[in-house]
């Protein structure tokens, strides 16, 4: 029972500083979170660098990189159209950064002493910033291209004149909710999966101390956690995809405006 008390499913989300750093009155210490962002950046850099051999007949790494870029290119082209091409780098950055960060959080690094995985995308201080960034780009592009006409986004075509104030209010609220839904969706999906795994992991450990019945619970928890990890791997990809996809859809509103 003593072991159970030690397991805190929320502890994995705590950020601890590695190298203290201050800029004016702001604390910008290099933290565990920043370290994992660095790892994500290095992995993405290495991955894309492998795709730059520029062979006419692609090798397996080049084919993989071309697959990812082609996937993002297609997503942007389908959702925004030819005018969306200039947003491809941003969408690509979002997609690969979120995908790699999600997957890094699932690495079983805790079996190595002194290491434990950290999921940068389980911090809403990060997902929220990305969501606000996407939302800001949508608003800037919208007003840049359409000026005040961009407000017509809140009045769908064919709305009866009587309904316009109501519809506009609803549309405005749903528009303003976008950054929250965008950032929270990713954050919640990640944190929920990790808490679930942590909790069932603790069930396995405490079950080992609970006799025959506890052993049964451990086995069941183990089977369940295998299933949850598989589901989480899927979730990592889906959440990265959804974040990038929704950003392209919002950008489509801003670029093409109905």
């Amino acid at each position: 029972m003593a072991v159970q008390g030690k397991i805190d499913p929320m502890h994995q989300f705590a950020i601890s500083p590695i190298a203290p750093l201050h800029l004016g009155r702001y604390d910008i210490s290099f933290t565990t979170s920043a370290a994992w962002m660095l790892v994500a950046f290095l992995l993405i850099f290495g991955f894309v660098a492998l795709g730059m051999k520029r062979e006419l007949v692609p090798g397996r790494w080049q084919a993989a990189v071309e697959g990812v870029t082609g996937f993002v290119d297609d997503m942007v082209r389908v959702n925004i159209g030819p005018e969306g091409k200039k947003f491809t780098p941003y969408i690509f950055s979002l997609f690969v950064f979120i995908l790699v960060s999600n997957l890094l959080g699932l690495l079983p690094l805790a079996i190595l002493p002194g290491l434990h995985p950290f999921t940068t995308t389980s911090q809403f201080s990060l997902t929220g910033v990305l969501a606000v960034l996407s939302f800001s780009i949508v608003i800037i592009v919208g007003f840049w291209r359409h000026g005040l006409h961009f407000f017509s986004l809140f009045v769908p075509h064919g709305t009866p004149a009587v309904m316009v104030p109501l519809i506009a209010a609803i549309e405005f609220i749903s528009f303003m909710v976008r950054p929250f839904s965008l950032g929270l969706r990713l954050f919640v999906a990640m944190i929920a999966g990790h808490i679930l795994m942590e909790v069932f992991g603790s069930f396995i450990v405490s079950g080992l101390h609970g006799g025959a019945m506890g052993l049964g619970v451990s086995v069941l928890s183990f089977l369940f956690i295998v299933f949850v990890v598989a589901l989480e791997l899927l979730m990592c990809v889906i959440q990265a995809y959804v974040f990038a996809l929704l950003t392209t859809l919002y950008l489509n509103d801003a670029v093409n405006l109905h």
Partner: protein, 181 residues
């Protein structure tokens, strides 16, 4: 929940490092490296498209050359046919002319020969009449002792000959055997 309890103390750091690493991903990878990767994807497509275009151009060129060649061949063939036709016509005309010439000459010779024959026949007839008249005179004198005038004899001969003439008018111009005998 550390995300909330730590928010105030880590937010600046989170924002700062996210800006750095996401910025690096955006500027270095997405804007710096991706276009090269993409150009590698586009290159084979572009190359294939270029090759296809060249092949199409070559094909068009070949077709044009062939068309020109065919046109030239047709023209040449027509020229040849025309020349052959002309040559044929010329030679035909020449042959015709020569045949005509030859025929004319033959006709002329035949005519001359005919004239000669007629002359010969005429002179032969005259001679024959003279001979016949003399013979008739002598015959009558020897048989009857009557001396027949040469004129009379000749008249009788002529009448006789005219009778033969009437009997065989178509052969009048040719010397008749039985008349001679």
């Amino acid at each position: 929940m550390p995300q909330i309890t730590q928010l105030a103390e880590v937010f600046a750091s989170q924002l700062f490092w996210l800006a750095i690493f996401f910025g690096l991903i955006f500027f270095v990878i997405a804007r710096g490296m991706l276009p090269k990767v993409r150009s590698t994807i586009d290159d084979p497509d572009a190359k294939v498209a270029e090759d296809l275009k060249q092949a199409q151009a070559a094909r068009t060129g070949a077709e044009q050359t062939e068309a020109a060649w065919r046109e030239r061949m047709d023209a040449t063939r027509q020229d040849a046919a025309r020349l052959a036709q002309e040559a044929k016509l010329a030679s035909a005309r020449e042959t015709e002319a020569r045949i005509k010439e030859a025929l004319d000459e033959i006709d002329a010779r035949v005519e001359r020969a005919r004239l000669r024959i007629r002359d010969a026949v005429a002179s032969a007839r005259v001679e024959m009449e003279v001979v016949a008249t003399e013979a008739a005179q002598q015959m009558v004198q020897q048989l009857t002792g009557i001396k027949v005038d040469k004129k009379e004899a000749s008249r009788a001969i002529e009448a006789q000959l005219a009778e033969v003439h009437l009997a065989t008018p178509q052969r009048s111009e040719m010397p008749s055997k039985h008349i001679v005998s």
